[in-house]
Every structure is written in C-alpha cells, then in structure tokens.
C-alpha cells in the first residue's frame, strides 16, 4: 500500500509540480537568449500576442489540442513580429514603443475574442490567461505499489507535464547542439551574417521554440507569468556570472528552483502563514523576481554607471 499522505501528494501535487518546474526551466533556458541579446521586451511581446491566436484556434477547433493552438499562436507571434518590424522601419517609432503598441493591441484582441464568445468558458477563460490552470492537473494516482510497477496508472496521467518535460529536453538538446552558432549569432549578428550563418533564420528558430514554450506553458503558468520566467531567472544569472555556459545553466537552475520553491511555498507555506494556499504560478513569478532583486542589490550596490543611458522606458 502507498501511504495515504504520499498518495495525496501524487494525486494533487506531483503533476502540477512537474509541470511548473519544467515550464519554468524551459522558459528560463530560452529566455536567457532574449536577455543576452537585450531583447527582453520581445519575450513580453510574444507572450502577450499569442493570445488571439490561441483563442482563435480554440474557437475554431473547440478543443485545447496542442497542435492547432500552437499553429494559431505561431501565426499570431509571427504577425506581431512582422508588425513590430514594419512599425520600427516605417513609423520611426522607437523599439520599445513599437513593441508595446503591438502586443497590447494583440492582447486586447485576444481578450475581446474571449469575452465576446461568452467569457465564462470552462476550458479557456481570462483567469487561465492570467495564471494558468495548475489545479486542474490531477492524476488518478495508484494506490498500491503493484500498480506503479505494472504501469497501469500511467495512462491516467495528464498530458501537459509530460509535454513540458519533453519541451525542456528538446530545447536543451537544440541549444547544446547549436551552441557555438547561437553564441556567434547572439554576440555579433553582422559578423555571423558575413560568415553565412543566417542569423535571421537562427533567431526565427529560437523565437519559434520560445513561442512553443509559451503555448505549452499556458496551462501551467498562464501567458503573462510566463514573461516573468522568460526574463527574471536569466537577468539574475546575468548578474552573477561572466561566462556564457554557466550563465545559461544558472538561468535554467534558477528557473527550476523558482518553480519548485514557488509551488511548495504557495501550497504548503502559505497555508501555514496565512491559513490558505495562494496562487502557485503567481508565487513562482514573484519568487523569480525576488531572486533578481536580491542579486541586483548584491551586485549593484555602490556600482553606479554614470554614463549609462537612461532607461528607455
């Protein structure tokens, strides 16, 4: 017999825990390249602007199947990317303003589509956009060890955590395989182009992988909190190391740690402190931000950069 306490953990917590940790680690891995190229806002833009694509795919197919959702999200992300480029090129609006304009518009479109189609949809609603639906990932866990061994209980597993683990593995493999290429393109795109490395294609590939990560993380953390995981762990890691390998590894580690700790804090810590659990994905995001603040205060104290350009907010 599996003890009841463990059984409860397996049923209620294991799947959300795996999902949030894998998604945090994968987002931090892909986000580390965005932060490295000083394009953090682009992650912001992608995470917001996939929404109309997701909603449209959902409305057309009537299900949350990952395939159509990814296609819709990719189309929306590509459209925003093109729109941002066109606005910077023609409108002579500065980068951050162009990005802000496009992603809020796409987000508004997504929210409107959701609300117009009866916002109270059980499967896809505004709350899910904000913070995901971790609590729905329960697993009809085995009650005896024998069931664990014969694998019969595996069929009842929710698909999202496994997909996220797969995504994490695939992203890690892709990053390791193309490591010198990614480094060259991120460091000096003009030089990379002169050597025939197609930096635009490499960036597009990374963006596609990032979009996939955002779509798959939608269930776990929601699209807005995904931004925190795309940016905060890499930014923290950037403050702690000057070597690219350790930077990316640390960023993944920090992301995963935020996922684990945040989930534990929200579901176990909060009830002790406040008497009730709080939103887990929000806690993960806030925790990753807290890590950044600690690292920033530690590394930045007394180190003012007088000639630094003012924040181009």
């Amino acid at each position: 017999m599996i003890p009841p306490g463990l059984h409860e953990f397996l049923t209620l917590d294991l799947m959300p825990l795996v999902a949030v940790t894998a998604s945090a680690a994968a987002l931090a891995l892909l986000g580390s390249f965005l932060v490295l190229r000083r394009q953090a806002m682009l992650g912001d833009a992608m995470a917001h602007s996939v929404l109309p694509g997701l909603v449209a795919a959902f409305l057309v197919t009537g299900s949350r199947a990952a395939g159509p959702m990814f296609l819709g999200a990719t189309a929306a992300a590509a459209l925003s990317g093109l729109a941002i480029a066109a606005i910077i090129r023609h409108g002579r609006v500065e980068r951050s303003a162009a990005i802000g304009l496009v992603y809020t518009t796409m987000f508004a479109l997504g929210v409107l589509l959701l609300e117009l189609n009866g916002g109270a949809n059980v499967d896809l609603d505004v709350d899910c956009v904000l913070s995901g639906q971790l609590e729905l990932m329960f697993w009809n866990a085995p009650t005896t060890w024998a069931e664990v061994l014969d694998g019969s209980s595996l069929s009842g597993m929710p698909p999202q955590p496994l997909r996220l683990v797969g995504l994490l593995m695939a992203s890690a493999a892709a990053v390791i395989l193309a490591w010198p290429l990614l480094r060259a393109v991120a460091f000096d795109a003009a030089f990379a182009r002169s050597r025939g490395l197609f930096p635009a294609a490499v960036s597009a590939g990374l963006m596609a992988l990032t979009t996939l990560a955002i779509v798959l993380s939608f269930d776990a953390v929601g699209s807005i909190l995904a931004i925190a995981l795309l940016t905060c762990p890499p930014a923290t890691a950037r403050l702690l190391t000057d070597r690219m390998g350790p930077y990316v590894a640390l960023s993944v580690g920090l992301g995963g740690a935020a996922g684990l700790l945040g989930y534990a804090l929200a579901t176990r810590g909060a009830p002790l402190l406040l008497g009730a659990s709080v939103d887990a994905s929000g806690t993960v995001a806030a925790l990753s931000g807290l890590g950044l603040i600690v690292a920033a205060v530690g590394s930045g104290r007394g180190r003012s950069r007088p000639n630094a350009p003012g924040p181009g907010l």
Partner: protein, 258 residues
C-alpha cells in the same frame, strides 16, 4: 570559376551601387575598385554611407540598383575569402564570452559551429582552437585568452576583433572603423601587422575617420559623401580641396539631385 564577362578580377568592385533607407538615398551610384594587395581607406563625413557601402557589398542590404563583385564573383561564392570586422558599436561588449571564444568564431569551419567544446573534447576542434590562440598571441593578447571581453580595454577589444579576422585566413579584410578607441601606440602596431598582410598579397579595405593617418598609413583612399568624391593614391584623393568638397555642408544634397 564563373566570371561575368567584362568584370574585373579586383578583390572588390562596385558597379553603380545605390542604396536607400526609407526612401532616402544613403549611397548613390558608387563605382569603385579596390586594388589587390593594397590598403585602402574609405573616408567621408558622418552619414556619408561608408558602413552602408560595406554592408551592401556583402549583400546584407538590398541595393536599389548596381552590383558588387569580389574577384569577379558574388559575395556568397567567396564568403570564406572575406573577413569582416563590424563597427565597434554594433556589439554588446558586456557579452559573456571570452577573447579566445570570439577569435574561435573566426577560425571555425563548418562543423565547428555545432556542439560546445566540452562535448567535442579531443576531436577535430582542437585544430581551430590552436589557430585561434595563435592569432591572439600574435596580437599580444595571449595572456587575455580566457578573460571575458568586457574586462578588456577598448584597444584590446579591437585587437580581439582583428585577431578574429586574421583567424579567418582571408584574402580580403573589410574593416569598419578598426581603430576606434585604440591608443596611438597600439594603432601603430596594428598598422604594421596589416602592412605585413598586404605584402603577403592580402587586400585591406578600412573605413577610417582620421584624415592624417589615412594619408600617411594607407596606400589608396576612397573619399565619399553619399557618392564618390575622389579615389586614387591616398595623398592625392585626400587633397585639401577634395576633402573640403566632401565635408562641405550639404555635400550630400548632390545625391538627391542625381
């Protein structure tokens, strides 16, 4: 080798190259040839289109009209024979990469672009690492190989960039402001190194902003302000008169009229 009929075999030949940004011409009807084995300075006021010229020649910008040939061929055909050093400002010098890793980007060939060194340990990549280290040492940076580039001085950073270009073993160097932020002593040493390359047959084309050294250190010069003002031996092309014409306010207005 496919040669366009009537095309010269100069390392770089531009034929009526015109480029515009947002409907405003940056480069207008530029025809010019670099002399093989010579050091040529591209000189002109800010916004004269010097960097644009290099980028358009390499096909990074689509021209309105005109063509660029490298030894009579297109850039894509001879990529490996050309080394490019972009403008200093185009790079984030706080990037977490070491000097050696930067230079390895120059010596890398095909499969070297895949898999990090800790995976490839002991395989063919040792060759290109050695080559990169050699180039760094040649420019006096052997001791800095494993330092993050952010910890190097401006002059050292430029030397790392030049080492990366050397590591490509190219026949033509396209350098965009290679001496920006370099002290005069280092500048002298770098000029000597480039001079030696030229004597071995390499062609050097550099965007350069200092008229004094452009006259004294380079063989040829190409003076431009949107379009070509003067070309030829550095001292002649950069005569007081020509320079005054190129740097006169409104010198680029001629472009719009053309």
């Amino acid at each position: 080798m496919i040669l366009r009929s009537g095309e010269s075999r100069a390392p770089l030949a531009l034929r009526s190259l015109s480029v515009a940004y947002r409907g405003v011409p940056a480069l207008w009807d530029v025809s010019w040839e670099a002399r093989e084995g010579a050091m040529t300075a591209i000189v002109g006021p800010n916004g004269a289109g010097k960097s644009t010229l290099l980028n358009a020649a390499m096909g990074a910008l689509r021209p309105l009209a005109g063509e660029a040939f490298f030894w009579g061929q297109t850039f894509a055909d001879v990529r490996s024979r050309v080394a490019y050093v972009p403008q200093r400002e185009s790079v984030d010098w706080d990037f977490p990469v070491t000097a050696l890793e930067v230079v390895e980007m120059g010596s890398a060939r095909r499969l070297d672009w895949l898999l990090p060194t800790w995976v490839r340990r002991g395989t063919a990549n040792r060759g290109h690492r050695q080559e990169a280290r050699g180039c760094l040492e040649e420019l006096g940076l052997g001791a800095f190989a494993d330092r993050p580039i952010g910890q190097l001085s401006g002059g050292q950073q430029q030397r790392v960039f030049l080492a990366r270009a050397l590591a490509q073993r190219a026949d033509l160097l396209l350098l965009d402001e290679p001496f920006a932020g370099v002290d005069s002593e280092t500048e002298g040493a770098l000029f000597q190194r480039l001079r030696r390359l030229c004597s071995e047959g390499t062609t050097v084309v550099a965007v350069h902003h200092d008229l004094e050294t452009a006259r004294s250190r380079f063989d040829d010069a190409m003076l431009m302000a949107g379009s070509v003002v003067a070309t030829g031996p550095a001292a002649d092309a950069l005569s007081e008169d020509n320079v005054r014409r190129a740097f006169a306010p409104g010198s680029r207005a001629t472009v719009q009229l053309a």
